[in-house]
Amino acid sequence: MDLEILLSIILITGVLLSLVFLVIGLSLYLILEGSRIDLGIEFRYTNLISWIEAVPRMSMYQKLLSIGLIILISTPYIRAITSFIWFMYHRDKKFSLFTLFVIIILTLSILGIIRVF
């Protein structure tokens, strides 16, 4: 399959799936909590992994919203991994290395290992 078609499928699936979770999650939030927003809500996950680990312990609307956002955030990451596999399969060393570099930096940042200051 062409890289362009693969990437297009990943992008559209990721964004549509996440929007479904976000719509249901927000509707549930409006029903249960009303339209008020609270900026003081604690969001103390040190990285994306600890956020994912906390999902099972969340209330239903928090769970749906978190799943929607995590899918959304993961979409570019999945497209980077797919591109890397595609370039490796097609023996394109140069672009395999470029995408591998992107994956390594993102993984380190997702794990909270990279900090500039």
Binding site: G25, I37, F43, R115
Partner: protein, 303 residues
Amino acid sequence: MKILKNILLRNITEDWYRLLELLNIYTILVVAFFAGLLGSLTGLGGASIMTPILVGFGFPIKHSIANAMISVIATSAGSSAAYVRDRITNPRAAMYLEMFTIVGGIIGATITLVTPSVILYFFFAFFLIAMNLYSYLERKKADSSHENSNYFIDRFSRWLNIYGEYYDHSEKRTIKYVVKRAHIGGPMMIVAGVAAGSLGIGAGAFKTSIQESILGLPTKVASTTSNFIIGMTGLAATTVYISSGYVNPVIAGTMALGTTLGSLVGSKILPHIRISSVRVLSIAITIYIIAQMLYKGVSALWI
């Protein structure tokens, strides 16, 4: 003078609290929707319009930037899927440039976390002025020199060997291109990444300008490839913002939903709107954003 300052100060703080009370899920959704719509029409991007409006409501700037960054990923994925499928976007050029923008995105997000909010207002306004000035000057240069298609292809760009072609429906012909000056265009994308990551925006116009003027990509390829890259830069910056505590799933979810829907509607309206109207709208919104951020910055300094 002191009395005048006290009156102004009390009025400003009272107004801010009154405006902040108006903010709820519905108002954020409406603001995000119209920001996404106008951002898609003007090419400014939803987040760069949404943040100044929310800040005008008294929403804390760092919260706005961190949550808007996630909506940038959504609008990028939603709007670039079709262009990638139609082969207008160049994934190879994108993957080379992403190596630089993600580094810039992480640096930019970290800068925002350690920078006082008052400076961020000025930084937002300053960067918007700089980006617009850069794009304007590059466009003028391109107009006067006619094209840079005869530009010598350097050794590094030859090694990269990024090229492509697409069928332009408006010109009714296939347009071929080769990436040039990649050794300059790549590192320049770090600056674009810093801007995007620090302000919670896509900085799409800036990225497009770099690709057009330095890498020599045709406008359509540059803007769609820039759209594609924005999502990856957004992810890099988001990973930093997640650990900051500023991300609120309810707010981020509302923003992502609103801007994505707005940009989808905007892309449907765009072909039916005159270019001159889009230009006027774009200038008006840019002036509003700059004025709003400068006003907030000066007010914050005063208080």
